[in-house]
């Protein structure tokens, strides 16, 4: 792949230039990615944002349409979403890798048009993780601290500058349009990039064996009840997870004027599958089992991809200190 160099101080200037005719999204703090108005707002840190990028493609709250009573009856006004070009800068490779995984679901037979519209209008510039945070396990899932899946350009911090790997046509077009910021890179830089990636990959110590999980995870295992003991169904893991996509549809308003919304939901919730007449998952451990088996068995069976990118947020933020990599290991060992 073709490569360029970007001097470190030029990143902020590039962002300012992009802002002239794009929306720009970048980490704004350790808490989240957000839309920024100047290159100075770009927040680079060793910590990845607590929240992933998924909200920029699958918003936590999205109005589907409005219903209004009129003299003639009822009128439905569908929502429209922007098609302004957008660039995400300094995205973590794991957050970006979740997008091709989610594409499978949002495109399964029925195309979710607002999701794909956002995918279409977005160019992604990732920034490699130097160093990778301690709870990550992207490598065993086919990712990497300098992973390229889903990205258009990858920035890798070398000693002196950013190595810019041009991954897609779209990435190439961006580099050409903003050529004034980029310099040529040479073989030495490419080698340095590769060497650094190897170093970072070696620092990722947590791992899972996805193939084994898919084959060995057992719904009927007696181990689930014990494994679910520490979990309090807080749902943080599902909200922070870049691949969790379960949602609810709710109406707010009344029959004269209402909106129908799509909002994030979680299988960890007690009422997730609860019907007026029957509840298929009354026990907490059945919900815990659903979450792990959906991610590592059911989704792969339906779509050929594991519903996880190894970002480690579920480990980092679990109030009870549950480590999903250990829990999964015990789930298959203790059948």
């Amino acid at each position: 792949m073709e490569a360029k160099l970007l001097q470190r101080e030029k990143l902020s200037q590039l962002v300012d230039a992009l802002l002239e005719d794009h929306e720009v999204v970048a980490p704004t703090s350790d808490l989240a990615y957000g839309q920024i108005r100047s290159g100075a707002e770009l927040h680079l840190s060793d910590n990845k944002p607590t929240q992933s990028l998924k909200g920029f493609f699958f918003p936590p709250r999205e109005v589907l349409f409005e219903s209004r009573r009129t003299e003639d009856g009822l009128e439905l006004v569908p929502s429209s979403s922007s098609d302004a070009p957008r660039v995400i800068v300094a995205a973590r490779p794991c957050d970006v890798a979740s997008l091709p995984v989610l594409d499978k679901l949002f495109g399964w037979d029925y195309q979710d048009s607002s999701y794909f519209q956002r995918r279409q209008r977005t160019t992604i510039i990732s920034l490699a993780c130097d160093p990778p945070p301690k709870d990550c396990f992207c490598v065993s899932l086919g990712g990497s601290p300098a992973g390229i899946e889903g990205s258009d350009l990858l920035l890798t911090p070398l000693r002196d500058a950013y190595h810019v790997l041009i991954i897609t046509e779209r990435g190439k077009a961006l580099v050409e349009k903003y050529a004034q910021f980029f310099e040529e890179s040479d073989e030495q830089h490419n080698q340095e990039r590769a060497r650094l990636e190897d170093e970072w990959r070696a620092q990722v110590t947590k791992e899972i064996d996805a193939d084994r999980l898919r084959e060995a995870l057992d719904f009927d295992s007696g181990a689930w009840e014990m494994l679910a003991q520490q979990c309090v169904d807080c749902a943080i893991c599902t909200f922070l997870c870049p691949t969790c996509h379960c949602f609810d549809i709710q109406d707010e308003g009344d029959n004269a004027h209402a909106i129908r919304l799509r909002l994030w939901d979680s299988c960890a919730r007690q009422d997730f599958t609860e019907m007026a007449v029957h509840q298929p998952r009354p026990n907490h451990f059945s919900r815990y089992r659903q979450r792990l088996m959906h991610k590592f068995k059911y989704y792969p069976e339906n779509f050929g991809r594991v519903l996880c990118v190894g970002c480690g947020r579920c480990i980092q933020y679990c109030p009870a200190g549950v480590d999903i990599t250990k829990a999964l290991e015990r789930a298959v060992e203790q059948r």
Binding site: P78, S79, Y110, N255
Partner: protein, 277 residues
């Protein structure tokens, strides 16, 4: 921007009170062109909504051979169903569909069909029953065993009388012991018991059953005793649904999504799925 979640606005043309807590709604499309183009297969469902209250899945209980109205039968149990029960003729509701798979009609051709239904479980079967009646020559014997807790709880009472009178069907109606009223002329007994009494042969036959979980459980036991195999028994399942089209992650049983791989399943298929429904 077209949205998967944007429903048709339907007008309620008729409300039929089937039982003290079940109403059937006959809905009409606003646009004749949409009405002409709308097609579906027996067993599919839609997401019906009361704007401002919410949306819920119900089967399309009219047959594809009788598409003048979209019909759904709704039992009042929660927020959305209660909201439906407050509506009147002329009110507007939302409808989107058809979703899900359907009864395997082609595999049923040339076979003896046995319908075993209980209570509101007759609603999804009704679409298929009328479909079969309207294409009667394609099937051999058709037996219907249907029951409810009491005479008041039987749904589609007008149609039940029609089916009883039809010579091309063998229709046996029953109510649970103690559920009969003075005018009741049908059987008295639980559906599984009556099914065994009717005693259809498993040879070249398909059973389609739907009803409360307890009834289905005992129907299966009876069918096994009568020599039916799991591939011969078909049912349709109910799960909490929001999107109806495989995205919200709510209706799965193991790897099977009830809204995509179902709601129609054979017992052979269900035996391979986790017991979480």
């Amino acid at each position: 921007m077209d949205s998967l979640y944007l429903p048709h606005c339907m007008t309620i043309k008729e409300v039929i009170e089937e039982t003290p807590d079940v109403k059937t709604f006959r809905l009409a499309f606003g646009d004749d062109k949409v009405k002409e183009q709308f097609d579906f297969r027996a067993g599919q469902f839609g997401l019906y909504s009361v704007f401002g209250e919410g949306e819920a899945p119900f089967c399309i209980s009219n047959s594809p051979t009788r598409k003048e109205y979209i019909e759904c039968s709704i039992k009042r149990v929660g927020r959305v169903t209660n909201a439906f029960h407050e509506l009147n003729v002329g009110d507007t509701v939302g409808f989107r569909g058809p979703y899900g798979n359907s009864f395997p009609l082609e595999e049923m051709h040339g076979k003896n069909l046995i319908f075993a239904g209980g209570g509101i479980g007759l609603a999804p079967l009704r679409s298929l029953i009328w479909n079969c009646i309207d294409t009667r020559k394609k099937f051999r014997d058709i037996t219907i065993v249907y029951g409810a807790r009491s005479t008041a709880d039987l749904v589609y009472k007008r149609e039940l009388s029609e089916w009883v009178k039809m010579k091309r069907l063998n229709t046996v109606l029953t109510v649970d012991p103690g559920g009969e009223d003075e005018t009741w002329e049908g059987e008295i007994g639980f559906v599984p018991t009556v099914l065994e009494q009717v005693g259809p042969s498993p040879k070249n036959a398909v059973v389609i059953t739907c009803g409360p979980p307890i009834m289905i459980k005992f129907v299966l036991v009876s069918l096994q005793r009568m020599g039916f195999t799991p591939e011969q028994v078909i049912t349709t399942l109910e799960m909490k649904m929001k999107c109806g089209l495989g995205k919200c992650g709510r209706c799965n049983i193991g790897s099977a999504y009830v809204c995509k791989h179902g709601p129609v399943f054979s017992y052979e298929q269900l035996q391979k799925l986790p017991a979480e429904y």
